[in-house]
């Protein structure tokens, strides 16, 4: 194969892959990627509806002081859901703080997902049982862990794949570069999924990168890359499915950039009015991924009013259960602070634990 062909094989499509137009009509002709089965699309719709409701509930919980902070992914729903639908149960996911909805869509207990943000512990779920790494805050650091896990799986002979989520801002960190390069040199079965939601807190993409698109970073590592309309679940799911298959079949890593938008502020604590105008946000309302998929599925006769109602019922159920459980104060034990520093506490930690224990006893009695 000529070098020119190699390069072409690595570069993304010049325009983001899209199956469904903003108005919900199918794009004609459809992209070369195989369309996901209808069942997947319906499942994707349901999980987006439920995820959106979870997201709104979590934001509400911050107002009631039940969460220390919450970073909403409203508007990125298609990415959140497609990201996990593209994976098998035995595949690993390396999410960021932004990706709570993805974890709920993966089936994790919503309360355990929110433990970090409620503040009773750091990671609330079992990463080994769920095959979901702790939500990562130090930007881009999780991408190299994902490569390590992919190498571990490969060496153990498992045909599982790893997917690492990262934001547009995170791609500027050195660790993202090192992760792409390691994955390429080791040919690790890992998919890097960039949710380009146009902002890193207040910093717009134009101040983050001068690249034609973030997906053009792949070629510089020999990593196959693609860019996709991140608000078109059909497109995100089909491209990620292809990327995961590529990785699973030994083709090495794959970089996917999804063009989407963060509808809410960075977190409930952020004041987005300081850096973007409401017109911009309204324009993106028109591109809402859930409305788009609903129109598309109805147009294809795959979804009707009952199906929509059922999805919303499921969403309300989850929200109600979450509300109730989050209203109870979590049980915490200060002495647990010493239990997990090491498998066996050092003599120094035992002394410090004893000091705290005596304080607690004194306080009680």
């Amino acid at each position: 194969m000529s070098l020119a062909q190699v390069v072409d094989g690595l570069l993304p499509a010049p325009v983001p892959v899209r199956f469904v137009a903003e108005d919900g009509t199918p794009v004609d002709p459809p992209p070369a990627y195989p369309a996901p089965p209808d069942g997947h699309l319906l499942e994707g719709y349901r999980r987006m509806v439920v995820g959106r409701r979870f997201d709104r509930q979590a934001t509400a919980l911050t107002k009631q002081g039940r969460l220390a902070v919450y970073p909403s992914s409203r508007g990125q729903d298609a990415c959140q859901v497609a990201g996990v639908l593209a994976l098998r149960e035995d595949d690993w996911l390396f999410p960021t703080y932004r990706d709570c909805v993805a974890l709920v869509a993966r089936g994790l207990d919503p309360v355990e997902v929110l433990t970090l943000l409620r503040g009773d512990w750091h990671c609330g779920y079992d990463p080994v049982a769920t095959r979901v790494a702790p939500q990562c805050t130090p930007l881009a650091t999780q991408t190299i862990h994902a490569v390590g896990m992919a190498e571990a799986l490969r060496r153990k002979g498992e045909d599982a794949v790893v997917m690492a989520f990262i934001g547009d801002g995170g791609t500027s960190e050195g660790d993202f570069h090192e992760a792409l390069n390691y994955a390429a040199v080791l040919r690790s079965p890992v998919v890097f999924f960039v949710q380009n939601n146009k902002y890193a807190i207040s910093v717009p993409l134009a101040r983050q990168s001068a690249a034609p698109a973030l997906a053009y970073k792949g070629v510089g590592y020999g990593v196959r890359s693609e860019q996709v309309d991140g608000n078109d679940l059909v497109a995100v799911l089909s491209v990620l499915t292809a990327a995961v298959r590529h990785a699973r079949e030994g083709g090495g890593p794959f970089l996917v950039e999804a063009h989407t938008y963060r509808m809410d502020p960075h977190t409930n604590a952020d004041d987005a009015a300081r850096y973007r105008d409401s017109e911009e946000v309204e324009r993106w309302e028109a591109a809402d991924p859930i409305a788009r998929l609903e129109t598309y599925l109805r147009g294809r006769g795959l979804l009707d009013a009952d199906g929509v109602a059922a999805a919303h019922r499921a969403a309300e159920e989850l929200a109600a259960g979450l509300r109730d459980r989050m209203n109870a104060d979590p049980r915490t034990d200060p002495l647990e602070l010493f239990d997990h520093v090491f498998a066996e506490p050092t003599p120094q930690l035992r002394e410090q634990r004893a000091l705290l224990a005596s304080e607690l006893n004194a306080a009680e009695g």
Binding site: L116, H122, P138, E173, I201, L337
Partner: protein, 338 residues
């Protein structure tokens, strides 16, 4: 006399520094239009323009490395690390270049730059947002390390840091950002750069603290006073350079010393303080120098941080252990003499 918060004082210091010296630049993550996540740079881009205060791409090693290059080129960058733990990606740039460039080049290249780091906890922040990282920098030769405890010091120490010919790591105790205090920013504060301040005079023991530990020490002294124990409180203000003179003369007077530090204790700045004090005041000490510090654990989740943070009770417990009225144990000296 005006009453302002430390956050306002820092913002004012940056504003005045930008106004007084056109070589001064402010950059980092979200410091532009947003004004920083703590609003310390609020309004600076508006007032001084994109060229003087701007957002960088999201990469801390890049921020510090860019500042190194611009300082080599004659500017005086003041960069913000968004949170303590997010300065770690810049550690190589800080330890291998920021701290060493003047020495490497025999003073031909100096790096007058300031790295502002909001640090420590007490604000209910989630992991990575509450680390006490001052010791990493204080242990690195070639860095000055500063941490204010009052709005007045925040203003003047930051002005001094920006004016300093050498790199300064400026540690800002997050939980004091909103603490307001009387300030007279017009007149220069008494204590200069490198000098500690005696925040409260006392006879019976000296509490040595800095940054977030200072209000805790002052509250403890207040409470002790009610019990008739008179505690002196020394606020280091600058960890490097260290003001041995003020600390030592206080402990020589009181004969007892407790160090208060929020950071995990092991090999922290408090260890250095205790080591220095006993080296220099041994024969004045009636009891060992005790340390009240955070535990040697990763910073706790928000709902548990109160159990970790040194508080008034822990400081008072330590003071109680200073063997007031005890005769020192001289048995072993007797043994030795015989």
């Amino acid at each position: 006399m005006t009453v302002i918060s430390m956050a306002q004082a820092l913002n004012l210091a940056l504003r005045d520094a930008l106004r007084d010296d056109e070589r001064v630049l402010v950059f980092g993550e979200d410091v532009g239009p947003l004004g920083g996540v703590f609003r310390i740079t609020d309004g600076l881009t508006k007032e001084f323009g994109e060229e003087r205060c701007f957002d960088t791409p999201l990469a801390e090693s890049g921020i510090v490395g860019l500042a190194v290059g611009m300082a080599m080129g004659g500017f005086r960058p003041v960069v913000e690390m968004q949170f303590d733990a997010f300065a770690y990606p810049a550690f190589e740039q800080i330890a291998s270049h920021v701290a060493k460039t003047r020495n490497r080049t025999r003073g031909r290249l100096s790096l007058p730059m300031v790295i502002r780091i909001p640090y420590a906890g007490g604000i209910g922040g989630v992991e990575h947002h509450c680390d006490s990282s001052e010791a990493y920098y204080a242990h690195t030769p070639g860095l000055k390390v500063v941490t204010p405890a009052t709005p007045d010091d925040a203003y003047w120490l930051l002005r001094d840091a920006v004016a300093d010919p050498d790199p300064v790591v400026f540690m800002e105790p997050k939980r004091l950002y909103w603490a307001k205090d009387e300030t007279s920013l017009g007149e220069r504060h008494a204590a200069g750069f490198g000098r500690a301040a005696i925040r409260r005079q006392g006879r019976d023991a000296t509490l040595v603290a800095y940054g977030p530990g200072v209000p805790v020490a002052l509250q403890a002294a207040e409470a002790a006073a009610r019990e008739g124990v008179s505690l002196e409180v020394v606020d280091l203000r600058t960890i490097v350079p260290f003001d041995d003179e003020t600390v030592v003369s206080s402990v020589r007077r009181t004969g007892r010393c407790v160090v208060v530090q929020e950071a995990q204790g092991f090999a922290g700045v408090g260890a250095e303080i205790a080591a220095r004090v006993q080296e220099r005041c041994f024969h004045s000490l009636a009891a060992p120098v005790l340390r009240v510090t955070g535990f040697d654990i990763p910073y706790p989740p928000p709902k548990l941080e109160h159990s970790h943070l040194p508080d008034v009770d822990r400081v008072l417990d330590a003071v109680d252990r200073l063997q007031f009225g005890d005769e020192p144990d001289v048995l072993h000296l007797a043994r030795e003499a015989s």
